[in-house]
């Protein structure tokens, strides 16, 4: 049943079908056997809604032993990696034992958001296609580090990896356009729009010159152009809409060298909080890359580069140094959660309540390149938090990470009952 290295292909389809049918067979009571506290409330009909989705993926993963609490349920003792999040313990839930049953290796990292098939339609893009259009940027992809590791974390319906923005200054300029940038954009739109008519005249003349069948084939061109035209017109009509402003200032140079990874993270978190607060975007994904950079904490360089440490071979000192990097990531995340929590709505709820923050990875154990058992954390989104939900993936009816994603998507108003190889949800365990 649990075949980690199963490749894409027929065997997967077979297994997927098996899972579907298994899901149909076990019915709900079986779920109660999960070792979970607070699972008693069956919240199938929850009406709570969240508005935003932040998906954060760490390329080299999260060391499981330092990420998973020893105890299950509420009141667990915070494990080392999560220690920086102490103030928010009741604002997030830790999940262990979830994964997509995807192939192993760095190459399959994108299973994080794509599910069982790496590079398939990713969860954040499913959400963006449903609710993203309501904001200026239907979806935003950011990275700390070059993004070279995985190249893409978010994939369109067609399976195209979306490019990620590495420079905070670029994202900042997009969010808070300067007058000069705005003028340039307006010029490009207006000149583009007005010249389009002449190109289309010429295209029509061309269409008339070819055979009827060939001319019909060209309708694809005209349909596509109409859609470009509409987009331009919409943008032109909004050009004078007031843009959000901010007092926030970025440093003079972008922290894009590998040793400044944490600094880049902090800036990106700041900008993501601003993007959410100004309602500029609702769906953002954030990739935390990792290569050979050697970090120093308190002036002492670690025993090896980040990537080298991830291949710790269970050496305790290597693990300690690796966990110190992962803990530093969590410090950065803590700053983000603080900001979301501080931004209060008139009704007393916070931006965090409206925002699902998913933290995870596509690699369960980087030391072995295993993509099983992906450490996962969900904060915000109005869920009942504070627990460690442990799933025993050896059980045949164990929920998949995709089942959790279905629950998250439903909370965001996406009406779906399936994602990748998952076709249930975790509403009973997590609501």
């Amino acid at each position: 049943m649990r075949n980690q290295s199963a490749p894409p292909g027929i065997s997967i389809i077979g297994r997927r079908q098996f899972l579907r049918s298994a899901a149909a067979l076990i019915a709900l009571p079986a779920l109660e056997s999960f070792p979970v506290l607070g699972a008693a409330k069956a919240a199938a009909g929850s009406t709570k809604k969240a508005k935003n989705l932040i998906s954060i993926g760490a390329y080299l993963g999260w060391h499981q032993n330092a990420f998973y609490p020893k105890e299950v349920g509420r009141g667990y003792k915070l494990p080392t990696t999560l220690a920086p999040l102490a103030n928010h313990q009741n604002d997030f839930t830790v999940f262990s034992g979830l994964d997509h049953r995807a192939p192993n290796g760095h190459g399959a990292w994108s299973n994080f958001l794509c599910g069982n098939t790496p590079k398939a339609y990713s969860m954040d893009q499913v959400v963006a296609d449903q609710i993203g259009q309501q904001s200026r940027f239907p979806s935003v992809q950011l990275t700390a580090g070059t993004g070279e590791g995985s190249k893409a974390m978010s994939f369109t319906k067609q399976g195209i990896g979306l490019p990620m923005t590495q420079r905070p200054s670029v994202f900042y300029k997009a969010l808070f356009m300067s007058e000069a940038d705005k003028a340039r954009m307006e010029y490009m739109l207006r000149s583009g729009r007005s010249s389009l008519d002449l190109v289309l005249d010429d295209a029509l003349r061309l269409q008339k010159s070819v055979t009827r069948t060939d001319g019909e084939k060209l309708e694809e061109y005209f349909d596509s152009m109409r859609s470009v035209e509409k987009r331009m017109e919409r943008q032109i009509s909004q050009i004078n809409d007031p843009l959000p402003t901010t007092d926030y200032k970025l440093p003079d140079s972008d922290p894009i060298t590998p040793n400044l990874l944490m600094e880049a993270e902090v800036l990106m978190y700041d900008l993501m909080a601003l993007a959410l607060d100004t309602e500029s975007s609702r769906v953002l994904s954030f990739f935390i890359d990792g290569l050979g950079q050697v970090f120093s904490f308190d002036g002492v360089p670690l025993r090896s580069g980040y990537h080298g440490l991830s291949h710790h071979g269970n050496d305790p000192e290597m693990i300690r140094d690796l966990v110190s990097i992962e803990t530093a990531h969590m410090h950065c995340l803590n700053g983000f959660l603080n900001q979301l929590k501080e931004k209060k709505r008139p009704d007393g709820t916070s931006l965090l309540d409206e925002t699902i923050v998913l933290v995870g990875t596509g690699m369960g154990d980087a030391s072995r390149h295993s993509n099983a058992d992906l450490p996962t954390l969900v904060a915000g989104g109005g869920f009942d938090h504070g627990s460690h939900i442990a799933i025993d993936s050896n059980k045949p009816d164990a929920p998949l990470l995709g089942d959790l994603y279905i629950t998250l998507m439903q909370r965001l108003g996406v009406e779906t009952n399936e994602f990748s190889n998952a076709s249930r949800n975790m509403n009973q365990l997590f609501s």
Binding site: E148, D202, L206, V210, S253, V294, G305
Partner: protein
């Protein structure tokens, strides 16, 4: 043709009533008659309108009625197929495709199904002859729709048009969908709104490249970076006593170099650079040399140092810091890069292993300590790779060096552990790990180079960076020189007159030129500059259908479309000046000229776009980067790359040397690296047997190695890439491989698998072998008709594991692989050599298959019945005169199929 159709029409009208009577008669068995009334009405209406509608003769109808219509009439429509008609309008493509399918099924004996009544041989032959005649008479050659450029064609077209040889499509650019195995088939090349947006974005990007927005000089600043402001990766540097130590002269910058974190140049200009450095624990007297280069901050940290521009080599003579100041041009996005040029150690396979060997020879204690570090407990099967990284490894090593009880018993040069250690030092991952550890030895003991500080002051003045220099060059190309006194209008018209025909790959009439001129004029009227208008023109030209589409000539394919077809086929690029000139003069369609041009454009290198693109699609090697072989196969990413290159070299060799088609199957050479041959084919070429013929150039060290014909090794079917692409990285599935070979090598695609049959799930417990599992196929008559063709071919390849390694036993069950089988024509197969010799004896099957694939790739349509017949004639004729592959390609180019739209 016209006369025939007329006669047919009259006959059709005359026959129609009797057909109805007969059908009605048949219908009494199971149908209600009213259907027939309506049908009669329809049939007669159609026969009045269609000139290509012909009745089905009585004898043929009887055969159909007796053997086909039980299942394939209007009421049953099994498999959505209805063959019950009074007459057939052969003018309809759908009808031709339906009857072509019927022809295929009847010819291959798939239909009628085995359990049903079978026609006599004469009846079957009569039906086939009738279908063949009608299909041939009524299928027109040609029919590719106007098609947009594929993503690859689009990219290479931009490269050619603007002379931007390294241009890459932006990340996130939409992919083409595959159609019949190729991503450049007209029907699959749909234009959608997201793609149009992507075209518009690229157009903007190109316009910005040629006419970049103006830049302003920033104020001059002074920025300083000390040892703690530098990037440290892997073991490239370490800060000791307020200095950054560099110890390796390795090529990859993240293994050997350091650079400031926050000193990115924001505007290209002249800057004043000051650097101070010193020697650290030198062991020799001469000056240390510090290389100072300008690296793009956005370039990969895996880049080789040599790709970055060298600004200065600084001599560092003493342990006291030396300071130098110099002026240099630094461009937007760059920063300084430092490397110690004459360091003792390098991250470089042969040099590093040599360095270690010499050291081991001198110092047995050093050797023993390394043995202890890498092989704990003296067990050479367990390499401690994970812990021997950077400082972690150094701590183990340095402790061992100080250990008075260090085990010295293995510290000899001929010891197994020593040999293994040196092998590791000379291997891919091992070298980097060991060298990173060694860096720490130098950090502790020296010699090292101390970097103290770097300062950049400026810009002292603005200079043109690469971006501005490129833009200047591109502008000159785009506009040409303006004649003295020429007005903007006249000049622009001149530019358009020369540029539009290049962009649209055909002559452009006055009206089109004026339309685009109008865009510029309107833009000037609203107060914009000449350059602004050029920028706008480029944005618009690149979204015109004339640029984005091919095959837009009004009627038959014209000289220009022919030029495009030939050029995109053989070079994946738009037609060059010479081709366009030949098209203009009307000479290209002359068979001699066309042949000469095809020879001129024929790929010559394995790296040529046509070779890479065609083979990766035909042989599915495009799947390789996605397949992640299970770690048990020990098949590295580098090996996947070599496997792909093997195929490209092999194909290019046969093409350029015009070798016979049989060499695809059973050649006397193989392109690979000796190491790959040893590791993956268990083949060691003897030194003196290596062919002296020049091998084609290869960065990965592929050579042309001689092999024996008739063996299991060599040829497409035994190549690692092909066997990997037809498996899934974990296990093999004989049915999938069998189908793949039928489709791509034999050109006999079996009908699609029945929908209601589940896919076979491999038995992971290993209780049954695949053969036992698949026995069901041959036992069940309805499966057998196809599987008797699929399974033998699949099983005979079972000796190749999922990465193409030879194996004798099935994994898990451990049972000996039974690769035997019988081909449908009765040929017994014992192993792959028998399949190869059968293919050599019946090479036209393969040639036909490859020729059809080439034609699909070249014309953007799947050849139809008549076109396949033409190809058949070409294949036979080519066989008769030597069967050279290049000759075949040339004959295909000369064919009517190629020369028709």
């Amino acid at each position: 043709m016209g006369a025939n159709a007329q006669t047919g029409l009259i006959v059709g009208l005359a026959l129609a009533p009797c057909r109805v009577l007969r059908s009605n008669f048949a219908a009494l068995r199971k149908r209600r008659p009213y259907i027939y009334v309506a049908w009669f009405a329809l049939a007669s209406t159609f026969s009045l309108h269609a000139k290509t509608e012909l009745p089905i003769p009585d004898q043929t109808y009887d055969i159909l009625a007796n053997y086909c219509l039980d299942c394939h009439d209007e009421a049953e429509m099994k498999g959505d197929v209805n063959l019950d008609h009074v007459s057939i309008d052969w003018g309809q493509k759908d009808n031709r495709e339906l009857w072509e399918k019927a022809h295929f099924m009847a010819k291959e004996g798939v239909m009628p199904p085995a359990k049903k009544r079978q026609p006599s041989e004469e009846e079957r032959a009569a039906l086939l002859a009738w279908l063949d005649k009608n299909l041939l008479e009524n299928t027109p050659i040609g029919g590719t729709p106007p098609r947009r450029l594929s993503a690859e064609e689009y990219r290479s077209t931009i490269r050619e048009l603007f002379d931007l040889p390294d241009y890459e499509l932006p990340l996130g650019f939409p992919k083409d969908s595959e159609f019949h195995g190729f991503n450049n088939v007209g029907e699959g090349l749909v234009l959608s709104p997201p793609l149009m947006e992507a075209y518009a974005k690229v157009a903007e990007q190109i316009a910005d490249t040629i006419y970049p927005p103006a830049r302003k000089a920033p104020p001059s600043t002074t920025r300083t970076a000390g040892p703690n402001d530098m990037v440290l990766s892997f073991s490239a540097g370490k800060v000791v006593d307020d200095a950054l130590l560099l110890v390796s002269r390795g090529h990859e910058i993240f293994r050997s170099c350091s650079w400031p974190s926050r000193m990115e140049i924001m505007s290209s200009g002249r800057y004043r650079v000051t650097v101070s450095a010193a020697k650290h624990k030198p062991t020799w007297g001469g000056p240390m040399k510090l290389e100072i280069r300008a690296r793009e901050l956005s370039a990969s940290d895996r880049s080789r140092a040599e790709v970055f521009r060298l600004l200065k080599v600084m001599e560092v003579p003493s342990t006291e810091p030396t300071t130098i100041t110099f002026e240099a041009d630094l461009y937007e996005g760059q920063t300084l890069l430092f490397r110690w040029m004459n360091a003792d150690m390098a991250h470089d396979y042969s040099k590093f292993a040599q360095h270690m060997r010499e050291w081991f020879e001198k110092d047995a204690r050093w050797l023993a300590a390394w043995q202890h570090t890498v092989f704990p407990n003296g067990d050479f099967s367990k390499i401690r790779t994970s812990v021997i990284r950077g400082r972690s490894g150094w701590e183990i090593l340095s402790k061992a060096l100080e250990d008075p009880n260090l085990d010295m018993s293995n510290a000899t040069m001929d010891n197994k552990l020593t040999v293994k250690l040196l092998e590791l030092a000379d291997s891919n991952t091992g070298m980097f790990n060991l060298a990173d550890v060694l860096c720490h030895y130098y950090f502790t003991n020296g010699p090292a180079l101390e970097f103290h500080e770097a300062t950049i002051e400026g810009p002292l003045k603005m200079v043109d960076g690469p971006r501005e220099q490129l833009a200047k060059k591109l502008r000159q190309q785009f506009t040409g020189a303006r004649k003295p006194g020429q007005s903007d209008e006249v000049f622009t018209k001149e530019i358009l007159t020369s540029f539009l025909p290049q962009a649209f790959r055909r002559p452009v009439d006055e009206q089109t030129i004026d339309t685009y001129l109008g865009i510029a004029e309107r833009h000037w009227e609203t107060g914009n500059s000449f350059d602004d208008a050029m920028h706008l023109l480029i944005r618009n030209i690149l979204i015109s259908p004339r640029f984005l589409y091919r095959l837009l000539s009004p009627g038959e394919i014209d000289e220009y479309d022919l030029a495009s077809r030939l050029s995109y086929f053989l070079t994946q690029a738009p037609p060059d000046k010479r081709l366009l000139e030949l098209a203009r003069s009307g000479a290209l369609s002359n068979p001699k000229t066309l042949r000469a041009e095809a020879i001129r454009l024929m790929p010559t290198q394995p790296t040529d776009a046509m070779v890479q693109n065609f083979t990766s699609q035909w042989l599915d090697t495009k799947l390789l980067p996605e397949i992640m072989p299970d770690p048990v196969f020990n098949f590295s990413e580098a090996e996947i790359g070599i496997a792909e290159e093997e195929v490209e070299h092999f194909f290019a060799e046969i093409l350029t040397r015009n070798l016979p088609m049989t060499d695809f199957i059973d050649p006397d050479f193989h392109y690979t690296t000796p190491q790959f041959a040893k590791d993956n084919y268990q083949y060691t070429p003897s030194e003196n047997a290596v062919k002296k013929e020049a091998s084609m150039a290869s960065d990965s060290g592929l050579e042309k190695l001689p092999i024996q014909r008739g063996g299991r090794f060599g040829g497409l079917l035994a190549q690692s890439a092909v066997m990997t692409a037809t498996a899934n990285g974990v296990d093999t599935q004989p049915v999938l491989r069998g189908v793949w070979v039928l489709e791509n090598i034999l050109g006999m695609p079996p009908p699609p698998a029945p929908k209601n049959v589940p896919a076979l799930t491999p038995d992971t417990r290993g209780a049954t072998t695949p053969r036992e599992l698949l026995a069901a196929h041959t036992n069940e008559a309805s499966c057998a008709s196809c599987h008797k063709r699929i399974d033998p071919v699949g099983f005979v390849l079972e000796n190749f594991d999922p990465v193409g390694n030879w194996r004798e036993e099935w994994p898990k069950s451990g049972k000996r692989i039974d690769s035997s089988g019988t081909l449908p024509d009765g040929t017994p197969l014992q192993d792959v050599t028998h399949l190869k010799s059968w293919l050599v004896d019946n090479i036209d099957h393969f040639s036909q298959c490859l020729a059809e694939k080439l034609m699909t790739y070249a014309t953007g349509r799947v050849p139809n019945y008549k076109e396949r017949k033409e190809i058949e004639t070409i294949v036979e004729a080519n066989h008769a005169k030597g069967n050279g592959f290049q000759d075949l390609v040339l004959a295909l180019v000369a064919s009517e199929t190629f020369r028709t739209k």
